[in-house]
C-alpha cells in the first residue's frame, strides 16, 4: 500500500492518521466549518464519538478524573487509545503539563454544536438548488456515472499490465497514480506491485488512497490543503440526488472540483451546479450499507463494484462462486471485474453473464510475482463471494485457502538478509562482549555460540565496529 503520511492504526480511518500529522493551526482552521466537524465525527469510532459527546455540552474544562470514573476496568485500554486519537486530532487536546483539566477544542466545540443544532450562517452543508426535472438526473444515473468514471481509472491500471487498450485517463489522474507509486514509467506507465494490491482493496479504501495522495500534493500546486479537506467533507454531507449550487464556492473549491469530476465524485450538468455522486456522499459514512436497494437490484454490476465497501456483509453484489476443486465461476460481464479476477485466476471460458476459470498454481504464482499477497486474494474472494457461497462455512473452501497460502510460502522458502558475519573470535569473553553489544542494538540476525559466530544487520555492524574500535583505543583487552 502506498504509505500515507502515517501508518494507520488498526481500525482507524487512514484520513485520521493523515490529519493527526497536521499542525494544530491547520486543524483548528479545518474545524471552523460545521460540516467538517460532523464528517470528522463520523469517521471516528464509536468510543471516540461517545467521548466527544460527553464533553460537547460542558461549558468549562473538566478534570479528567471526573470522566475517568466512568471507564470500566476492561475498557481502560480502548479508552486510553481513544483519548490519544482525539488528542492527536486536536479535538480534545491533552491537558497542559501539571493540570488535568480537559475540554474540547473551542473551535470544534462551537462548530460541532452548530452542526447538531443547525443554524448559523456558514453555508457548509452546500446550497441546494431547485429540482431540475428535465435533466433526467436521478440516483441510478449518478451511480452509473460514478461507476464508469472510477472503473475506467481502475481498468486503465489493470490493462496497462497487459494490452493497454483502455482509454487513458486525464493527466491529473496519471500524475496522481504515478506519485502514489501505483503505476510507474514515463510515457506508457505500468502498474506496480502496489498497484496490484490497490486493485484488490475496497473502493472506499481505493478512493481514500488516491485522495490522500491528492492532499499531499496540494502544496506543490499552491492549493490550500485545509480548504480541500473542508470541501471533501462538505461533499460527504450532501445528499445524493440533490443538485447544489457552486456560486458560493471559493476559488480553491472550484479548482478542486474539476479534478473531482474526473474521479467521478461529482457530476456536473449545468454550469454553476453540481450533483455529488455516491462516491462522494459515502466518503465519511464509513459504510456502504446506504446503497439504495434500487441500485443493488437494477444494476447489480455497478452496484457491486461501488458498494464492495468496508462492510462486507452488506455489500449487495457478490458474484464469485468458488468450488473445492479450485474452479471459479464469476457471474459478471464487467470488464474491470474480469480483468481483476484475471490477475490470479486462469480463465477458461466466457459467457454472456459468466466467466469460468480455475485457480491454479501458475495463476497464483503470477499474482504473487506481481506483489499481491495470498491474504489479499482470499479477502477479495470473501468480499465478492456470491450469496450462495454464504451458505458454506467457512465461506471459501478450506482446501483452496490453504493451498493459496502454501503457494505463497513455497515462494518464500528462502529468506534473505544482508549484513555481516562476525567470526574467528579467539576467546569466548570477546565473543560474548561483542555479541552483548550487538544484542543491545537488537541487530543480531543469527548466532552460534559453539562456532563463535554471529550475523548482524548493516546498521548493527557499524555500531559493533565502533564499539570494538573504542574498546581497543581505551586499551580494553581484546585478544
Amino acid at each position: 500500500m502506498p504509505a500515507p503520511a502515517a501508518e494507520a492504526l488498526p481500525g482507524q480511518h487512514i484520513l485520521l492518521s493523515f490529519l493527526a500529522t497536521q499542525s494544530q493551526i491547520s486543524l483548528t482552521r479545518l474545524y471552523s466549518k460545521p460540516s467538517a466537524c460532523l464528517a470528522l465525527f463520523r469517521l471516528l469510532n464509536a468510543l471516540e464519538r461517545q467521548i466527544i459527546m460527553n464533553y460537547l455540552w460542558l461549558e468549562g474544562p473538566v478534570s479528567s478524573n471526573t470522566m475517568d470514573v466512568w471507564v470500566t476496568r476492561d475498557g481502560r485500554a480502548p479508552y486510553e487509545a481513544a483519548m490519544r486519537t482525539l488528542a492527536s486530532l486536536q479535538v480534545l487536546p491533552s491537558p497542559k503539563p501539571g493540570s488535568n483539566m480537559l475540554q474540547l477544542s473551542p473551535s470544534f466545540k462551537k462548530n460541532f454544536r452548530l452542526a447538531l443544532t443547525g443554524g448559523g450562517d456558514h453555508m457548509s452543508f452546500g446550497v441546494p438548488c431547485e429540482k431540475d426535472l428535465a435533466g433526467g438526473v436521478n440516483v441510478e444515473m449518478l451511480d452509473r456515472y460514478a461507476a464508469n468514471c472510477w472503473e475506467s481509472i481502475l481498468h486503465f491500471m489493470v490493462s496497462s499490465g497487459t494490452d493497454g487498450r483502455a482509454s487513458r485517463p486525464t493527466k491529473g489522474i496519471l500524475y496522481l497514480l504515478d506519485r502514489s507509486g501505483l503505476m510507474a514509467g514515463q510515457g506508457a506507465p505500468k502498474i506496480t506491485s502496489e498497484g496490484f494490491q490497490f486493485l484488490l482493496t475496497s473502493p472506499h479504501a481505493q478512493l481514500w488512497t488516491l485522495l490522500l495522495q491528492y492532499l499531499s500534493i496540494t502544496n506543490e500546486r499552491n492549493i490550500d490543503m485545509v480548504e480541500v479537506i473542508q470541501f471533501l467533507f462538505m461533499l460527504s454531507t450532501m445528499q445524493l440526488g440533490q443538485e447544489y449550487s457552486t456560486e458560493v464556492f471559493t476559488n480553491t473549491y472550484h479548482s478542486v472540483l474539476e479534478d473531482l469530476i474526473d474521479y467521478g465524485l461529482v457530476y456536473k450538468r449545468n454550469p454553476n451546479r453540481i450533483y455529488p455522486t455516491r462516491l462522494a456522499t459515502t466518503l465519511t459514512s464509513g459504510s456502504s450499507a446506504t446503497t439504495s436497494s434500487s441500485a443493488v437490484s437494477s444494476q447489480a454490476q455497478t452496484g457491486a463494484s461501488l458498494s464492495g465497501n468496508s462492510t462486507v456483509a452488506t455489500a449487495g453484489g457478490g458474484f464469485i462462486i468458488l468450488e473445492t476443486n479450485y474452479r471459479l465461476y464469476a457471474y459478471t460481464e464487467n470488464p474491470l471485474q474480469i480483468a481483476i479476477i484475471n490477475l490470479f485466476v486462469s480463465l477458461r471460458g466466457r459467457f454472456s453473464n459468466l466467466v469460468t476459470g480455475s485457480i491454479t498454481r501458475e495463476s497464483v504464482r503470477k499474482a504473487l510475482d506481481n506483489g499481491i499477497t495470498a491474504d489479499q486474494i482470499i479477502s477479495y474472494l470473501v468480499t465478492h463471494a456470491h450469496p450462495q457461497m454464504h451458505k458454506n462455512n467457512p465461506l471459501i473452501p478450506i482446501t483452496v485457502q490453504d493451498q493459496i497460502r502454501l503457494w505463497e510460502q513455497e515462494k518464500n522458502r528462502v529468506q534473505i538478509a544482508e549484513g555481516y558475519l562476525w567470526k574467528e573470535f579467539t576467546a569466548s569473553t570477546d565473543y560474548n562482549l561483542v555479541l552483548e553489544h550487538a544484542r543491545s542494538t537488537s541487530s543480531v540476525v543469527w548466532e552460534n555460540e559453539q562456532a563463535r559466530m554471529f550475523f548482524v544487520t548493516p546498521e548493527g555492524h557499524a555500531s559493533c565496529r565502533d564499539f570494538v574500535n573504542q574498546r581497543m583505543r581505551e586499551g580494553g583487552g581484546f585478544a
Partner: protein, 68 residues
C-alpha cells in the same frame, strides 16, 4: 576477530541441499553455517535465487499440462 560482508540465507534443509548442489557448479557459498543457514556472496544473490527457483520449478507438477 573478523567480520565479512555477505547475505544470510535462511532456508529449510531441503533447499539447503539444493544450494549445496548448485554450489558445486558455481561456488557462491561463503560460509556454511548450519542446517538452515548459509552465507553467500552479495553479488550472486540474484543468480542464486533464479537458479533455485528454476530448480524448484522442476519439482512442481501441474494438471494443467495434461488437460487441454
Amino acid at each position: 576477530m573478523r567480520a565479512i560482508k555477505g547475505v544470510l540465507l535462511t532456508c529449510d534443509s531441503a533447499v539447503k541441499q539444493i544450494l549445496l548442489t548448485l554450489n558445486e557448479k558455481e561456488a557462491f557459498i561463503v560460509e556454511d553455517l548450519d542446517e538452515t543457514h548459509v552465507i553467500i556472496a552479495p553479488d550472486k544473490v540474484e543468480r542464486v535465487r533464479q537458479a533455485l527457483a528454476s530448480e524448484l520449478e522442476k519439482n512442481a507438477f501441474s494438471l494443467e499440462a495434461n488437460v487441454p
